[in-house]
Amino acid sequence: MHDLQPMTALGGDAPQVDTFDHVTITENDGLALASVAARMGHEKTCHTTLKKLLGAVPEPGKAVLHDPEAGFWMGPDQWMIGAPRETHELLADHLKERFGDTASITEQTGAWVCFDVIGPAMPDICERLCAVPIRRMTAGDAQRTMIHQLGCFVIRRDNPEHIRILGPRASAGSLHHALITAAHSVA
């Protein structure tokens, strides 16, 4: 086994947590991610495998919040699969084994920073960040949108006060800054 230590997207050894009166913003460093894109002519098989994996095929604009693998729709015939990194460090390899030639698999773990925003002020914060209709979204809604000029995924979780935001990892600092200032604004 190698001895290289990963660093979080915000540049720390451990994920960052910011606590406000009405909301907590947590850097979530525990996600392994890989994209799955159906190969042409293999869409049905690919769907079957997805269904076995997640329990359902995520529809456009939706996530399937399944355990341990969860997934959301990224684009036509393309999904992002996530799982705990501790147990799924080689998620992409495992998916490749399961999907074989029916799908193109690409490791995405390193491409994203993930923040969990939890608390009663979550909708107010969201309204200052992006154009998703946050108060009309329900658990399992997943939309890609712009936050501070960054293309992000916004996923509404089971807890009605919880939103998960995936943003481009290289801009983790800027995204974090946007979240924190929004939290200050509405606090």
Binding site: G61, P76, G151
Partner: protein, 95 residues
């Protein structure tokens, strides 16, 4: 503006990048005898109508789909939004 994405529903046009006339789908045959002229017209001439216009938009901050949007250039009204891939196939494009 709001573009009613065929898969995702209404989305702010600010999430999209604009390319132009959807005739850009109709790329000429490179081996045709008139290829030089065809490519010039394909690349450079535009109807540029004041009225209904089919045009290409890319959902850059979304699902990365190219869409064909039928929009009125005078009123900005949008009457139809299609997946560009479907339009391309319907116009006979393949591999």
């Amino acid at each position: 503006m709001i573009i009613d994405h065929p898969l995702l529903g209404p989305r702010d046009a600010a999430e999209f990048t604009y390319l132009g006339d959807a005739k850009l789908i109709d790329r000429p045959d490179w081996q045709s005898e008139t290829a030089a002229k065809d490519f010039y017209e394909y690349g450079y001439l535009r109807d540029n109508p004041a009225g209904w216009h089919q045009e290409l938009w890319f959902h850059e901050a979304g699902d990365r789909s190219w869409l064909v949007v039928t929009r009125n250039t005078v009123t900005h009204e949008i009457s139809k939004v299609e997946m560009a891939r479907d339009v391309a196939r319907a116009r006979g494009r393949s591999k």
